[in-house]
Symmetry: C2
Subunit: 210 residues, 2 copies
């Protein structure tokens, strides 16, 4: 096991493999193959075998993968065989959807606090959360040993929020604000921007056909 050497792009596919394994378990399946996984994910079975080979031997030649075993192993590799506490900053529409996104909970991610800097929002009920003052985020982070944060604030505020999170010990940030955030070594940011995806696909539209 040389986890350190695994390319990030391979790591990024593991959650997708984990997702399909969970569906197979829901379907009552016990055994699968790289062929079936590949077919259901639209990638080659060779790619899947190669990706998994970075982490060990999970299947026997000719008998395929034990679905639950592989699921459990991937959960361990990804460190998601445990629960993670997450703080969420930004109590807007998007923040509301994220705070109550059931799949976070199903996957072991618990939003332990929702924060905003708007005095009009602080103290308000927000679905099952109460919106807290972002300046008090440190207490919650400390109490729950939070290492992960989600940013759903307007672009102008995102860098400041990220800095504060990092100062308080957060090392993984999921950033919905449409800005690039510079972070120190050891801190990771992943970005979700639906506009980027739509524009990316627009490139391939044949203008003549429109």
């Amino acid at each position: 096991m040389t986890e350190k050497a695994v390319p990030d792009i391979v790591v990024g596919r593991l959650p997708v493999y984990l997702r399909i394994l969970n569906y197979l378990i829901d379907e009552g399946r016990y055994i699968t193959s790289s062929q079936e996984l590949g077919d259901r994910l639209g990638i080659s079975s060779a790619q899947i075998r190669k990706d998994l080979s970075h982490f060990g031997e999970f299947g026997k030649q000719g008998t395929g993968y034990d679905v639950m075993f592989l699921r459990d192993q991937l959960q361990k590799i990804l460190h998601v065989d445990r629960r993670w506490s997450v703080v969420l900053v930004g109590a807007g529409d998007l923040g509301h959807a994220l705070a109550h996104y059931r799949r976070f909970n199903d996957a072991g991610f618990d939003v332990v606090g929702v924060f905003d800097s708007d005095p009009q929002k602080i103290g308000q009920q927000f679905g099952k959360y109460m919106i807290q003052d972002v300046s008090t985020m440190g207490e919650v982070i400390q109490e729950h040993k939070v290492k992960m944060g989600i940013i759903a604030v307007p672009p102008a505020a995102a860098t400041e929020v990220a800095k504060e999170m990092i100062k308080l010990g957060v090392v993984s940030i999921l950033n919905y604000a449409p800005v690039t955030i510079m972070v120190p070594l050891g801190v990771r940011v992943q970005y979700i921007d639906p506009v980027v995806h739509l524009q990316h696909m627009a490139y391939y539209h044949n203008e003549e056909a429109l």
Copy 2:
């Protein structure tokens, strides 16, 4: 210009360049450099120059890029120098946030209809939209010449919705449902799954430090 030959990963970075150029314009800037863009995006200036070189010559040696010119060119290249009509299927929490996401509008993407299959939801007001029966989606798609769709339904329904969209002429799908969708040649799907991002980052957490 050999657009066909441009690697998809390069195309995927153009919207991010476009985003930063728009910020520079908002800041009142007229000239920028690959160095500045790189610094603000956390990538190398060489990468930016190489990416842009696929599409032509946008800057002069030593004088940098004209911000507005480069912005306009990127918009043309991405086919986002026009407005796009988009249908949205799935009138849940996430669908609500997406239907009212201001940046879609700012970027030229107009959600022209919100659809669901739940009889309890159909006909209900949904912010500024009225939820329509997904079985009537064809009329809206035809009327607005819709080529893009957003899926925000539960995983079990996503494949069916995608099939229907594609049958009706949609060729670009932004899929928020946590399932992989198989599509015919000529149709593109991009995925947004925040759980995948959190799990991806969890991999890098040092367990000893927890």
